[in-house]
Amino acid sequence: MSAFLDMGGYAAYVWPAYAVTLTVVVLNIVWAQRLLKRSRKEALHRLAIGGTQK
């Protein structure tokens, strides 16, 4: 296991690279969901203030 974590001496490069990518992936998920949630709220708000033309 420790050999795996050591990555043949490249641990200081390999793990940060994976960490950065993982962070980007997770952040993208969070951002996307936040965008959807906010748009829903704004859409409902717009409906509530009665912009119902058309």
């Binding site: 490069y13 950065v20 965008l35 704004e42 119902t52």
Partner: protein
């Protein structure tokens, strides 16, 4: 007949519902492929005879770099469709692409520099691949900056679409000019990706990661697209049905 299909596909309520229904179908395979690719890449694949375990950064760097270009292309194609056929949904796709692409371009830059560090002895080399990625990041930032400079979504959509198209014409020119520039000044890059001679246990996880990331992009795009479609719709009656749980 093809046109009715086209317009039905492009109608916001339809897109909103379809995107919602499709998302899990992309997200779960993406998750499975990425986990399998990680296991394959980090555990099962043998170390490289030259770069030892350091090459394993490939399994995150290559998908990120692939995303950076693929997303830009998607964005430009969507922008062109939006501009030519005045299709709001296409503009919504383009708008959804930019932050995803920019973040993966950033990841490609960081992982590339981390990969290069043990090989070059420094974190930054003016390597053609990294330099191109850096310029691509600037293109994304410019696109997002232009988009956010307008209050009116419609105008932001259309103006930034022109930029996306101009950018996509330029990307290959930039790429080849950077390679040309680099070949004058230093030895070729240490990052040789996806050589056909790559042994299968190394190649399979890479392909899984590439496919997994692509599907992941699809899922992200669909979620964002729903948000963008909602924000472009002005008080249409379908929203109340679609939004209320």
């Amino acid at each position: 007949m093809a046109w009715t299909w086209f317009h039905r596909l492009a109608s916001p309520p339809h897109v909103y519902r379809l995107a919602g229904r499709l998302t899990p179908w992309l997200a779960w395979p993406a998750a499975v492929l990425i986990v399998a690719g990680l296991i394959g890449g980090l555990v099962l694949a043998p170390p490289d005879y030259q770069q030892g375990d350091g090459y394993r950064i490939l399994y995150v760097h290559a998908p990120s770099a692939w995303m950076s270009l693929m997303v830009y292309t998607t964005m430009a194609v969507a922008a062109a469709i939006g501009l030519i056929w005045r299709m709001k949904v296409a503009h919504a796709v383009a708008a959804s692409c930019a932050p995803i692409g920019a973040s993966f371009t950033f990841a490609a830059l960081v992982t590339g520099s981390l990969w290069g560090a043990p090989m070059w002895g420094t974190y930054w080399q003016w390597d053609p691949r990294l330099t191109s990625e850096l310029i691509l990041l600037f293109l994304y930032l410019g696109y997002m900056g232009l988009r956010s400079a307008f209050d009116d979504v419609q105008r932001a959509d259309r103006v930034s679409a022109v930029l996306a198209i101009v950018g996509v014409v330029n990307v290959p020119i930039i790429h080849y000019s950077v390679i040309w520039w680099n070949s004058l000044h230093q030895a070729p890059s240490v990052m040789r990706l996806g050589k056909p001679t790559m042994p299968l246990p190394m190649l399979v996880p890479l392909l899984m990661m590439l496919l997994g990331f692509t599907l992941f992009f699809g899922a992200l795009l669909l979620v964002r697209l729903r948000g963008e479609v909602l924000s472009r719709e002005r008080a249409a009656s379908w929203i109340s049905e679609a939004v209320r749980p």
